[in-house]
Subunit: 272 residues, 6 copies
């Protein structure tokens, strides 16, 4: 099995739909051309991952996405020796694949990863753009068409988990937020197939629900959940039931908060 | 030994009995058909596991159930290389089996699992529905008949353990509670073989005991324990003794709380 | 070496002596016949282990006892691949042995074990009674003559260690305490060979010492320690010396508490 | 290399000198004959280890001593498979050696060991006296001439480290303290070769220094340190210098405490 | 693959540009000639790494740079046995390479490393200058052209992480700060190709932004970020957009702080 | 490669210079001859390591020095099986080498080591002087020319790290401090080659700087740093610059403390 082949398959046949909000596409392209690493900041489900997929496809580069977590180590990114069929074989991790082939490596929620990933991020975000693989004795120089993108959600308050200034200051950065209403309506409609008027009602509802963030809710309703709701509605489920399953239950376990959300929903769609 | 064969055996010969309370069956079916992941919330022993078994059998898909715990890692779900008979052999974990064969993977009490499971949950709950197996170099695309179901109990207060919003917002969700009295009576009767009138008395008793939750008890009496009690009664054990062993001792170690529960029991069944 | 043979040897040639206090023998038998798991609660050395040995022998089933501790994992219960004589060989753990052969598996002080044991307890305490061995790819169905028994001591206050309600509510439960005086006298006499009158004095003394529990002592004098004391006395050691070595020193390191215990002892046996 | 041979070498050619203070020798012998495990409690360097060596030699049994520490696990006591000369070989740990050959296993400062040692201590301190070796599949029954002895120092305050009552209540126990003056004089003289009068002065000095324990010192001067001091004096070192190096510096780093100790020393020996 | 070859490649073809601020070049050279280890202290991105590269090239020695992190151990520096192509082979770590070949080993942010690195730092910073490799049984004596350089950022407050005095006192040390304005202008211009006047404006802006450090910002704008900003401006991006992406977003997630920074930027460049 | 050969190389060709302050040389020799272990206490860089090197050379014994740290385990001292050239081979650790050959093993900052080192220190500091190697099944008896020396710095306040009394009371102990002025002048002059008058000025300066310890500084200026300063001065660096790099920067990161130190330096050497 060839891991390179696996990576190739990340180049989609068509460019994923992405409607820009500001200068984010230009910034991405310029950072790519100037070989600068990029940091994306923004709430859950606002489209960061989709944006990166879109840009990778537009630039014609394979995309290597890694969801970071508490136990992710440098070796998970660079690779390790594995026993396969009785033989020891080096298997490149996603970051090494991106460096070797020239591609975009996207570390989603990078603050969650263990601290030894800085050892690979720092020399790669220098002007040297080096990836040392001490296990194989290689010192890879990133090609011009390699780009490192990382993201995190500044809305979470992590006392123990944050990017050190010495790491942050190695990135060009861009904040994301939920798309403006008109754009979000288009996204929801094109992803779910739901009629435009119902999509507009959903996006208006989302604005009201997002105002509850902070006081009662850890995060506002994501665009992804609006698409889920629209998908169930397009499939014939009554709107209030669909909204309860996608815009209420995933956001909170608190009965009062849930009731507050349901009131806004019933005000929009009535009782089913 | 063929692990696929093991998985097949999870398809029971008959559909396990499940009496729906609300729209949960339709929601499950629509989520399955729309390829959306599902999150079930509710107290211990209220029937979530039984519901999933019922739906899996109804949809004719094998079911892979994993009880999550503090030490469960991504590799426990995806698989690992094992030394067997002197040879190294890859063994699929339950999630990988479900993706390969097209089945339902149910992660019970998912908040208990270690954080690296997010690395497998996130790309599987994208519109991409991918399961990357970095160890084998495979990138599995989930077939249409794969579904991911997770559950947790919102009644527990875990400061350190909760689903991150970025994970929660990837699921359609549904709250469960104990079944309404009439339905619970039928369930207890059909599972234990106890006479209907005694089952009704037990379910009434349960309502009184469940009112003590919060003040004195961490959780209310589950339907499962009512079935245990009814089973011992049907086997000839005096009702008060059976209730003490199944509705009192498993719920609390506190003498005052136990006495409060026993009073309600004696009010129902008298002294043995 | 055959591990099954090891297990057989747990069936003693004669049934260990156990004098029932309440309905515990009936409850054990009914739970066994109805294939329900059993939870025993009670203080150290009050006879829980002896009770389980007695019941296992009476039912003619081999007994697999595991003393749980902070580092006990699921693999310690289910088994693991071991390198033996240059070959890798699967060795069943005690729980797997009990499931394969049909026996009683007793997990003593189960709250001490690591959290991944829930992954094996939950499907075994379902109506499915399954033990999945992911390492071998097996899915064992427990035979009718398999029974799971667990115990813990509710007298310890463990903030971090307790059975989750979702686990507790899977068991029929029974509280134990020290045996009533007449019974304890018989037990001490039959185990130590000490004369009946001295055994009666010892049991009276124990009642006085147990009243000190809570204020000064973490736990009361166990029946086991009374037997130790009686054994040394039957061997010719002066009663006060024997009591100091078995009823005082093992209970406390505090000089004042020790003096309080010694006063009660001297009041019973005088100065040696 | 034969590990049994190693163990044999623990039986010294002559019985180490030990002068009993109370009934400790009878208690040890009776516990040995009645096959009861023994717990020794007392301060550092008061002679517990020497006492056990003495009794082991007197009973003609090999002695296996283990200094317990934070990282000591059950496998360190029972044994493990080791790769030796390209072959995997089981090597008995000291506890297993003692059970196989019939000897005395002494776990010094047992509260320091990790919690999984309870899994081997509990069945060995039952009336069953079993040592299960799950790795080899063996179930060893301890012979009559096996004895388990453990010790700890109750003077240390360990919040996290203490013997659980369920473990403590499995042992016959005995408290130790420093030997009475006349006896300590003899011990110091026989171990160091220093003249009797100087030994008497040293033991008087020790009594004064030990009074400072608690207020200023974590532990009093041990008999071992008195022997060190006497050895250096017998070798020609001035008494005050020898006392500073053995009775002051090893006890405290605090200048005031050291000065307090030195005053007592100068009052005994004058300025050198 | 030859790891030595990898190391050689660290000697750049031309000496990296570095404009000295004070006596740091002389101090480095004298420490190198006197075989004394050097400690560099200073904020993120002020040019420490560049300075070390410059000096290494000037002295004609290969440079081995290691970004330290929470999980970096002594073995990461000294080397380990690796399985490669079925054979076990010792692979030197970067520190060992530097000692064997005579080069400069630079441990960036050394306070982050695990404590076992002291075991290799201490004998290397003695007058003995030894590197013991206990795994291979070698005891390497550092040649005259070996030099150890470490750095850390005193601006971070690490309660748990600091260099022990016994380690610090083994180094000659030098504090770094951001370069004085005129020098920083030259650096930014030569690295980015941006016109001199715009570089001057950027450096003036940086001074204003750095004054906000402490009250609102964990660290001031680094020279590296100024170069990023200048690079994007030279590439045609409007100055305010470039500054937002490089001087605001990488420094803070706080809306108020960001607005404060943006005001200073708009005061310099106007609205785009 | 022969590890014994490595050890031999620790015997220097000439005896390292050491000027005694008190009775430390006699105490070391007597402890060596009486086979007693030795504990050295004192601040960083006051000459403990040099003293041990001196004594080892004087006694003609090889010296095995280990810098202890948080992760140092018993196996690091005793040895382990290593895979070398496809074969498993036992490699003695430094302590085992010292016991086998008869040498001096010096554990520097022993309080930093992990707790399992007590398991090797205790039987070696008994009158038995045994080193059990459970992995090889050996029980080594230390020869007469083996000596164990440990050190630590009582100036650090470690709540979690200290030598247990049961370990401390096994050693003869000696406190060290910085050498008296006249002696320190000689040491600095002979190590650096700096003229006597300048060395005297440096030592006077050191006295003033050391008075700041406690209030502002964690530790006083070490003799080692004085030698560094003198070396740079002898190499032609202006005194104030040399003092800043060696007596100020390595001691503190605090601007006020640094200014206080610099004032004392300028008072001694004037402005450069």
């Amino acid at each position: 099995m060839d891991t390179a082949a696996t990576a190739e398959s990340h180049i989609p046949h068509e460019i994923p739909f992405y409607e820009p909000v500001g200068n984010e596409c230009q910034l991405f392209e310029r950072a790519y051309q100037q070989r600068l690493p990029l940091l994306l900041k923004g709430p859950t489900g606002c489209g960061k991952t989709r944006f990166v997929s879109h840009m990778a496809a537009k630039l014609g580069r394979p995309l290597f996405t890694v969801s970071c977590h508490d136990d992710l180590t440098a070796a998970d990114l660079t690779g390790r020796y594995l026993l396969q069929g009785g033989e020891t074989r080096w298997v490149d991790g996603p970051l090494t694949q991106a460096v070797r082939e020239g591609g975009i490596c996207y570390l989603d929620e990078v603050v969650e990863a263990r601290k030894d990933v800085t050892v690979v991020l720092h020399p790669l975000t220098d002007d040297r753009r080096l990836l040392p693989l001490e296990r194989t004795g290689e010192l890879l120089e990133a090609p011009d068409d390699f780009m490192l993108v990382v993201s995190y959600n500044p809305g979470y308050q992590h006392i123990l988990k944050s990017l050190k200034p010495s790491t942050r200051q190695r990135f060009v950065a861009k904040s994301f937020d939920f798309p403006p209403p008109e754009l979000e309506r288009n996204i929801v409609a094109s992803e779910s197939g739901l009629a435009a008027q119902q999509c507009a009602a959903l996006v208006n509802l989302a604005a009201r629900l997002r105002e509850m963030k902070g006081q009662d809710l850890e995060e506002g309703v994501s665009t992804r959940l609006l698409i889920y709701c629209a998908t169930l509605m397009a499939d014939g489920m009554p709107a209030t039931q669909a909204a309860q399953a996608t815009l209420v239950e995933p956001l909170s376990d608190d009965a009062d908060v849930q009731e507050g959300l349901m009131e806004a929903i019933r005000a929009t769609f009535g009782e089913d």
